[in-house]
Protein backbone atom coordinates (compact mmCIF):
# COMPACT_ATOMS: atom_id res chain seq x y z
CA UNK A 1 0.00 0.00 0.00
CA UNK A 2 1.31 3.42 -0.91
CA UNK A 3 1.71 5.74 2.04
CA UNK A 4 0.40 9.25 1.59
CA UNK A 5 2.29 11.99 3.38
CA UNK A 6 -0.11 14.33 5.19
CA UNK A 7 -0.66 17.44 3.12
CA UNK A 8 0.78 15.87 -0.02
CA UNK A 9 -2.65 15.09 -1.44
CA UNK A 10 -3.82 18.67 -1.10
CA UNK A 11 -0.58 19.98 -2.57
CA UNK A 12 -1.02 17.59 -5.47
CA UNK A 13 -4.60 18.82 -5.98
CA UNK A 14 -3.44 22.44 -6.07
CA UNK A 15 -0.69 21.54 -8.52
CA UNK A 16 -3.14 19.75 -10.81
CA UNK A 17 -5.55 22.69 -10.68
CA UNK A 18 -2.79 25.17 -11.47
CA UNK A 19 -1.51 23.04 -14.34
CA UNK A 20 -5.00 22.64 -15.75
CA UNK A 21 -5.72 26.33 -15.43
CA UNK A 22 -8.74 25.71 -13.18
CA UNK A 23 -9.63 26.64 -9.66
CA UNK A 24 -12.66 25.62 -7.66
CA UNK A 25 -13.84 29.22 -7.24
CA UNK A 26 -13.90 29.88 -10.97
CA UNK A 27 -15.55 26.64 -12.01
CA UNK A 28 -18.58 27.33 -14.14
CA UNK A 29 -20.50 24.72 -12.15
CA UNK A 30 -19.81 26.33 -8.78
CA UNK A 31 -23.04 27.40 -7.14
CA UNK A 32 -25.35 25.52 -9.51
CA UNK A 33 -27.77 23.55 -7.32
CA UNK A 34 -27.74 19.80 -7.70
CA UNK A 35 -31.35 19.73 -8.94
CA UNK A 36 -30.52 21.84 -11.98
CA UNK A 37 -27.04 20.46 -12.55
CA UNK A 38 -28.44 16.92 -12.83
CA UNK A 39 -31.19 17.96 -15.25
CA UNK A 40 -28.73 19.90 -17.41
CA UNK A 41 -26.26 17.00 -17.40
CA UNK A 42 -29.05 14.64 -18.49
CA UNK A 43 -29.74 16.89 -21.47
CA UNK A 44 -26.05 17.22 -22.31
CA UNK A 45 -25.63 13.45 -22.17
CA UNK A 46 -28.84 12.76 -24.09
CA UNK A 47 -28.58 11.61 -27.69
CA UNK A 48 -32.10 12.90 -28.35
CA UNK A 49 -32.52 14.87 -31.54
CA UNK A 50 -34.51 17.39 -29.48
CA UNK A 51 -31.25 18.55 -27.86
CA UNK A 52 -29.68 20.59 -30.64
CA UNK A 53 -26.16 21.98 -30.83
CA UNK A 54 -27.39 25.42 -29.79
CA UNK A 55 -28.92 23.92 -26.64
CA UNK A 56 -25.70 22.09 -25.79
CA UNK A 57 -23.71 25.30 -26.26
CA UNK A 58 -26.02 27.24 -23.95
CA UNK A 59 -26.15 24.50 -21.31
CA UNK A 60 -22.43 23.68 -21.38
CA UNK A 61 -21.60 26.10 -18.55
CA UNK A 62 -24.74 25.14 -16.57
CA UNK A 63 -25.93 28.74 -16.69
CA UNK A 64 -28.75 30.10 -18.87
CA UNK A 65 -28.69 33.86 -19.15
CA UNK A 66 -31.74 36.00 -20.04
CA UNK A 67 -29.92 36.96 -23.25
CA UNK A 68 -29.49 33.31 -24.21
CA UNK A 69 -33.17 32.61 -23.55
CA UNK A 70 -34.16 35.71 -25.56
CA UNK A 71 -32.05 34.47 -28.44
CA UNK A 72 -33.91 31.15 -28.40
CA UNK A 73 -37.23 33.01 -28.38
CA UNK A 74 -36.09 34.96 -31.43
CA UNK A 75 -35.19 31.68 -33.15
CA UNK A 76 -38.67 30.37 -32.30
CA UNK A 77 -40.24 33.46 -33.84
CA UNK A 78 -38.04 33.12 -36.95
CA UNK A 79 -38.94 29.43 -37.28
CA UNK A 80 -42.69 30.15 -37.13
CA UNK A 81 -42.32 32.98 -39.63
CA UNK A 82 -40.41 30.70 -42.01
CA UNK A 83 -43.51 28.47 -42.11
CA UNK A 84 -45.78 31.46 -42.63
CA UNK A 85 -47.38 31.06 -39.20
CA UNK A 86 -48.69 34.36 -37.86
CA UNK A 87 -47.87 34.53 -34.17
CA UNK A 88 -47.34 36.58 -31.03
CA UNK A 89 -44.72 35.78 -28.43
CA UNK A 90 -44.81 37.40 -25.01
CA UNK A 91 -41.28 37.45 -23.62
CA UNK A 92 -42.53 38.83 -20.31
CA UNK A 93 -44.80 35.91 -19.60
CA UNK A 94 -42.49 32.95 -19.53
CA UNK A 95 -42.72 32.01 -23.15
CA UNK A 96 -46.45 32.38 -23.75
CA UNK A 97 -47.03 31.94 -27.47
CA UNK A 98 -50.10 32.44 -29.64
CA UNK A 99 -50.35 31.17 -33.22
CA UNK A 100 -52.95 31.58 -35.97
CA UNK A 101 -53.88 28.50 -37.99
CA UNK A 102 -52.45 28.40 -41.50
CA UNK A 103 -54.96 29.03 -44.30
CA UNK A 104 -56.75 25.81 -45.22
CA UNK A 105 -55.65 24.01 -42.07
CA UNK A 106 -59.21 23.37 -40.94
CA UNK A 107 -58.48 21.25 -37.87
CA UNK A 108 -55.27 23.12 -37.00
CA UNK A 109 -53.22 19.92 -36.95
CA UNK A 110 -50.67 21.08 -39.52
CA UNK A 111 -50.10 24.37 -37.69
CA UNK A 112 -49.84 22.54 -34.37
CA UNK A 113 -47.27 20.10 -35.74
CA UNK A 114 -45.16 22.87 -37.25
CA UNK A 115 -45.40 25.06 -34.15
CA UNK A 116 -44.46 22.12 -31.92
CA UNK A 117 -41.43 21.34 -34.09
CA UNK A 118 -40.40 25.01 -33.90
CA UNK A 119 -40.76 25.06 -30.11
CA UNK A 120 -38.81 21.84 -29.67
CA UNK A 121 -35.93 22.95 -31.88
CA UNK A 122 -35.57 26.40 -30.28
CA UNK A 123 -36.71 27.19 -26.73
CA UNK A 124 -37.57 23.48 -26.24
CA UNK A 125 -35.33 21.73 -23.75
CA UNK A 126 -33.93 24.96 -22.31
CA UNK A 127 -37.15 26.75 -21.40
CA UNK A 128 -38.28 24.48 -18.57
CA UNK A 129 -34.90 24.67 -16.88
CA UNK A 130 -34.54 28.41 -17.42
CA UNK A 131 -37.96 29.17 -15.95
CA UNK A 132 -37.43 26.59 -13.20
CA UNK A 133 -34.08 28.08 -12.17
CA UNK A 134 -35.59 31.55 -12.17
CA UNK A 135 -38.42 30.36 -9.93
CA UNK A 136 -36.38 28.03 -7.74
CA UNK A 137 -32.80 29.32 -7.66
CA UNK A 138 -32.03 27.28 -4.55
CA UNK A 139 -32.87 24.08 -6.42
CA UNK A 140 -35.22 22.76 -3.76
CA UNK A 141 -36.76 19.36 -4.38
CA UNK A 142 -40.53 19.23 -4.84
CA UNK A 143 -41.09 17.79 -1.37
CA UNK A 144 -38.88 20.34 0.32
CA UNK A 145 -40.46 23.22 -1.60
CA UNK A 146 -43.93 22.02 -0.67
CA UNK A 147 -42.95 21.58 3.01
CA UNK A 148 -41.60 25.13 3.16
CA UNK A 149 -44.71 26.52 1.46
CA UNK A 150 -47.08 24.65 3.77
CA UNK A 151 -45.17 25.83 6.84
CA UNK A 152 -45.12 29.42 5.59
CA UNK A 153 -48.86 29.30 4.90
CA UNK A 154 -49.42 27.67 8.29
CA UNK A 155 -51.51 25.08 6.47
CA UNK A 156 -52.96 22.37 8.70
CA UNK A 157 -53.10 19.76 5.96
CA UNK A 158 -49.97 17.59 5.81
CA UNK A 159 -48.83 19.07 9.15
CA UNK A 160 -45.78 17.17 10.36
CA UNK A 161 -45.41 15.18 7.14
CA UNK A 162 -41.69 15.23 6.31
CA UNK A 163 -40.43 16.60 3.01
CA UNK A 164 -39.23 13.16 1.91
CA UNK A 165 -42.72 11.69 2.33
CA UNK A 166 -44.25 14.64 0.46
CA UNK A 167 -41.73 14.04 -2.33
CA UNK A 168 -42.75 10.38 -2.46
CA UNK A 169 -46.43 11.27 -2.66
CA UNK A 170 -45.83 13.85 -5.40
CA UNK A 171 -43.72 11.41 -7.41
CA UNK A 172 -46.42 8.74 -7.09
CA UNK A 173 -49.12 11.30 -8.03
CA UNK A 174 -50.68 10.45 -4.70
CA UNK A 175 -50.63 13.80 -2.90
CA UNK A 176 -54.27 14.83 -3.49
CA UNK A 177 -54.57 17.94 -1.30
CA UNK A 178 -58.10 18.86 -0.22
CA UNK A 179 -57.69 22.38 1.17
CA UNK A 180 -57.05 25.49 -0.96
CA UNK A 181 -53.93 26.33 1.05
CA UNK A 182 -52.33 22.96 0.38
CA UNK A 183 -53.52 22.93 -3.23
CA UNK A 184 -51.98 26.35 -3.83
CA UNK A 185 -48.68 25.12 -2.38
CA UNK A 186 -48.84 22.07 -4.65
CA UNK A 187 -49.39 24.19 -7.77
CA UNK A 188 -47.22 27.16 -6.96
CA UNK A 189 -44.86 26.37 -4.05
CA UNK A 190 -42.72 29.43 -4.70
CA UNK A 191 -45.59 31.87 -5.20
CA UNK A 192 -44.12 32.74 -8.59
CA UNK A 193 -47.21 32.19 -10.76
CA UNK A 194 -49.34 34.96 -9.30
CA UNK A 195 -52.03 32.47 -8.32
CA UNK A 196 -54.19 32.85 -5.23
CA UNK A 197 -56.46 30.77 -3.06
CA UNK A 198 -59.38 31.40 -5.45
CA UNK A 199 -57.47 29.62 -8.23
CA UNK A 200 -56.74 26.74 -5.87
CA UNK A 201 -60.43 26.52 -4.85
CA UNK A 202 -61.42 26.50 -8.50
CA UNK A 203 -58.96 23.70 -9.29
CA UNK A 204 -60.34 21.62 -6.45
CA UNK A 205 -63.85 22.32 -7.74
CA UNK A 206 -62.80 21.41 -11.31
CA UNK A 207 -61.97 17.96 -10.03
CA UNK A 208 -65.45 17.73 -8.55
CA UNK A 209 -67.09 18.75 -11.84
CA UNK A 210 -65.03 16.24 -13.82
CA UNK A 211 -65.98 13.43 -11.47
CA UNK A 212 -69.63 14.38 -11.68
CA UNK A 213 -69.48 13.88 -15.41
CA UNK A 214 -68.29 10.26 -15.16
Amino acid sequence: MRRVVPGAASLLTVAVLLLSGCSPSTSAQTGVPELWRVQIDQLLESDSAEVADVHREILADHVITPAEYSELQQRLSDCLSSHGIEHELDPQDGGTLQTVDLPGDDDGSQTLDLATACIDSTTGPVEGIYLGMRENPEGLGKGEALRRCLDKAEASEFAGVPAAELERQITAADLNPTTPEAKLCEIDPFGAQGLGLDAARRMLADGQVEAGGQ
Binding site: Q39, Q42, L43, S46, S48, E50, V51, D93, G94, G95, T96, L97, Q98, T99, V100, D101, G108, T111, L112, A115, T116, I119, D120, T123, G124, P125, E127, G128, L131, G132, E135, I170, T171, A172, A173, L175, N176, P177, T178, E186, I187, D188, Q193, A199, R202, M203, L204, D206, G207, Q208, E210, A211, Q214
Partner: protein, 95 residues
Protein backbone atom coordinates in the same frame (compact mmCIF):
# COMPACT_ATOMS: atom_id res chain seq x y z
CA UNK B 1 -73.23 8.51 -5.82
CA UNK B 2 -70.97 10.09 -3.27
CA UNK B 3 -67.32 10.57 -4.21
CA UNK B 4 -64.41 11.21 -1.89
CA UNK B 5 -62.07 14.11 -2.63
CA UNK B 6 -59.35 11.60 -3.34
CA UNK B 7 -61.39 10.04 -6.11
CA UNK B 8 -62.45 13.44 -7.42
CA UNK B 9 -58.93 14.78 -7.80
CA UNK B 10 -57.66 11.57 -9.36
CA UNK B 11 -60.12 12.00 -12.21
CA UNK B 12 -58.17 14.95 -13.66
CA UNK B 13 -54.81 13.18 -13.61
CA UNK B 14 -53.43 12.19 -17.01
CA UNK B 15 -50.71 9.63 -17.49
CA UNK B 16 -48.29 10.71 -20.18
CA UNK B 17 -46.30 7.98 -21.83
CA UNK B 18 -43.27 8.02 -24.10
CA UNK B 19 -41.79 4.65 -24.93
CA UNK B 20 -41.21 2.65 -21.76
CA UNK B 21 -41.47 5.73 -19.54
CA UNK B 22 -44.52 7.43 -18.10
CA UNK B 23 -45.43 10.05 -15.55
CA UNK B 24 -48.55 11.81 -14.32
CA UNK B 25 -49.81 15.36 -14.78
CA UNK B 26 -52.89 17.08 -13.39
CA UNK B 27 -54.90 18.98 -15.99
CA UNK B 28 -57.61 21.59 -15.54
CA UNK B 29 -60.26 23.31 -17.64
CA UNK B 30 -60.85 26.63 -15.97
CA UNK B 31 -63.32 28.70 -18.02
CA UNK B 32 -61.33 30.24 -20.85
CA UNK B 33 -58.02 28.57 -20.10
CA UNK B 34 -56.01 25.38 -19.98
CA UNK B 35 -53.83 24.58 -17.01
CA UNK B 36 -51.65 21.71 -15.92
CA UNK B 37 -49.23 20.92 -13.13
CA UNK B 38 -46.34 18.57 -13.75
CA UNK B 39 -47.07 16.51 -10.64
CA UNK B 40 -44.80 13.49 -11.12
CA UNK B 41 -43.36 14.71 -14.45
CA UNK B 42 -40.34 16.98 -14.88
CA UNK B 43 -42.20 19.62 -16.88
CA UNK B 44 -45.52 20.11 -18.61
CA UNK B 45 -46.96 22.25 -21.42
CA UNK B 46 -50.55 23.01 -22.38
CA UNK B 47 -52.29 24.63 -25.30
CA UNK B 48 -55.82 25.88 -25.85
CA UNK B 49 -57.41 26.30 -29.29
CA UNK B 50 -60.22 28.76 -29.81
CA UNK B 51 -62.08 30.63 -32.52
CA UNK B 52 -61.57 34.36 -32.53
CA UNK B 53 -64.34 35.80 -34.72
CA UNK B 54 -63.70 33.37 -37.56
CA UNK B 55 -59.95 32.93 -37.04
CA UNK B 56 -58.71 29.81 -35.27
CA UNK B 57 -55.91 30.50 -32.83
CA UNK B 58 -53.83 28.42 -30.43
CA UNK B 59 -52.28 29.72 -27.22
CA UNK B 60 -49.38 27.75 -25.78
CA UNK B 61 -48.27 27.89 -22.17
CA UNK B 62 -44.63 27.73 -21.21
CA UNK B 63 -42.79 24.47 -20.64
CA UNK B 64 -42.50 24.44 -16.86
CA UNK B 65 -43.72 22.80 -13.67
CA UNK B 66 -46.99 24.70 -14.07
CA UNK B 67 -48.24 25.66 -17.53
CA UNK B 68 -51.23 27.83 -18.36
CA UNK B 69 -52.69 29.21 -21.56
CA UNK B 70 -55.63 31.55 -22.03
CA UNK B 71 -58.23 31.74 -24.78
CA UNK B 72 -59.22 35.12 -26.18
CA UNK B 73 -62.86 34.17 -26.67
CA UNK B 74 -65.35 31.69 -25.23
CA UNK B 75 -65.42 29.62 -28.45
CA UNK B 76 -63.10 26.90 -27.17
CA UNK B 77 -62.11 24.31 -29.80
CA UNK B 78 -59.90 22.10 -27.66
CA UNK B 79 -57.11 21.72 -25.14
CA UNK B 80 -53.94 19.67 -25.19
CA UNK B 81 -51.20 18.70 -22.78
CA UNK B 82 -47.81 17.07 -23.09
CA UNK B 83 -45.07 16.33 -20.60
CA UNK B 84 -41.35 15.83 -20.44
CA UNK B 85 -40.67 12.15 -19.94
CA UNK B 86 -37.11 10.85 -19.66
CA UNK B 87 -35.65 14.06 -21.17
CA UNK B 88 -37.98 13.94 -24.20
CA UNK B 89 -41.39 15.47 -24.81
CA UNK B 90 -44.40 13.24 -25.25
CA UNK B 91 -46.92 13.69 -28.04
CA UNK B 92 -49.81 16.04 -27.35
CA UNK B 93 -52.73 14.48 -25.55
CA UNK B 94 -56.06 16.27 -25.91
CA UNK B 95 -58.32 16.67 -22.92
Amino acid sequence: MKHSWRALTTVVAKTITRGAYSCTVDVYKPGLAAEATASACTAVQVYIRYNDYGTNRTSFGAQAGYSHAYAGTSSILGRGVRAEVASDWSDWKTY
